[in-house]
């Protein structure tokens, strides 16, 4: 018999941890996506050209 019997409370805590984990992962994706868009955007390109000139 297992000594670490799973309780409904453990499932709820796991759900909470999973939720926080997914939110953090989504936040990373958003930051990365925004960085790509901003860096490859026309404003950045224009500024870059100015520096090169």
């Amino acid at each position: 018999m297992s000594l670490r019997k799973s309780h409904e409370l453990h499932q709820r805590r796991f759900g909470r941890n999973l939720g926080v984990g997914l939110v953090l992962a989504a936040f990373i994706v958003i930051i990365f996506g925004l960085t790509v868009v901003k860096v490859s955007g026309s404003n950045f390109g224009a500024a870059n050209q100015e520096v090169q000139n």
């Binding site: 409370l9 759900g15 909470r16 925004l34 868009v37 955007g41």
Partner: protein, 318 residues
């Protein structure tokens, strides 16, 4: 085992079984209100005459929604005492004891800061300042200051709910014109009749909580006529918007039909007395409330349709 240790153990078990899940924290953000914020902010963003990168647009709407959710969490923190009294709200996470008030406060403050900064970085700081002002207005001006002070609380609170399309527009353009304020005015004028209809058939809730709703302070007869007056003003504004830069023939048809139905409902409410309403369990008031949800959704839907058809030469009057 002594009685004291048994009681302590029972209390601990109860505390654990009442522990919040992820959904309880999410519910602090008032997801249903957030869906309205998402939709109206999206219409504001897409109706703007300046194209925006789809990913930036998505992020802008997301951060506006998170800002709206943050103000909802702060509202639940402050209003936990009256939420505990009202039937409609007593099962919310804070009054039900699943989330501590301090946790709601911390979540609200953290998400407020995050949403404002991220919106500023993703779009522009003008839009971020508007979002910060909206959160301040909803939490401090409406929730803390005026909600428990004046029967015009709903009118003032409506302004906070009306800002998202303006923020969406500013996020796309970085500037301000008349059109976003027409969308603001539409939601602002729509809020009082929508909530007063709800207050007519949820009266005892507001009575018990001591919130000075118009039904409590000025009586139900006055509330019925207030609904009619606001509906007339709303109809003039809604139909007039058809001839602005965000209107067009589709919007005009939608506005004419919906406002005729809305005015008819408001007139029926004004003409009814309490005996009539009690007899059919507020059938007309409940119907008007449901219609009001459809009313706002279809008006903004029509604005969106006009905006999306413009690139094909079909939207608007030109």
């Amino acid at each position: 085992m002594t009685d004291a240790s048994f009681n302590a153990s029972t209390a601990t078990t109860r505390a654990y079984t009442n522990e919040a899940g992820f959904g309880d924290y999410f519910s602090l953000l008032k997801p249903r209100v957030m869906s309205l914020v998402v939709f109206t902010a999206m219409v504001g963003l897409l109706a703007a005459p300046v194209p925006i990168h789809p990913f930036v647009g998505f992020c802008a709407i997301l951060f506006i929604a998170i800002g709206g959710g943050a103000s909802g969490a702060l509202n639940m923190w402050w209003d936990a005492d009256i939420d505990r009294v009202m039937k409609r709200t007593r099962n919310r996470a804070v009054p039900a004891g699943r989330v501590e008030p301090g946790e709601a406060l911390a979540l609200g403050l953290a998400l407020s800061g995050l949403s404002v900064i991220m919106l500023g970085l993703a779009t522009n700081w003008f839009a971020a300042a508007f979002l910060a002002f909206t959160i301040f207005f909803y939490v401090v001006v409406y929730t803390v200051w005026l909600k428990r002070l004046t029967p015009q609380n709903i009118v003032i609170g409506g302004a906070a709910g009306a800002f998202p399309p303006v923020i969406g527009w500013v996020a796309a353009t970085g500037t301000m014109t008349l059109e976003p304020w027409l969308m603001f005015a539409l939601t602002f004028m729509w809020t009082p009749p929508h909530f007063w209809a709800l207050a007519l058939f949820m009266r005892s809730d507001y009575d018990d909580a001591g919130v000075p709703m118009l039904t409590v302070t000025h009586g139900r007869y006055a509330t019925r006529w207030h609904i009619l007056v606001y509906s007339i003003l709303l109809a003039i504004l809604a139909v007039g918007t058809a001839f602005s830069g965000i209107g067009g023939p589709i919007y005009l048809v939608v506005a004419l039909v919906l406002n005729a139905m809305f005015l008819r409902g408001a007139w029926q409410i004004a003409r009814r007395n309490e005996e009539d309403s009690e007899a059919d369990n507020f059938k007309v008031e409940r119907g008007f409330f449901k219609l009001s949800l459809l009313y706002l959704f279809l008006h903004f839907g029509a604005i969106l349709a006009e905006a999306l058809l413009k690139p094909y030469g079909l939207g608007g009057w030109s």
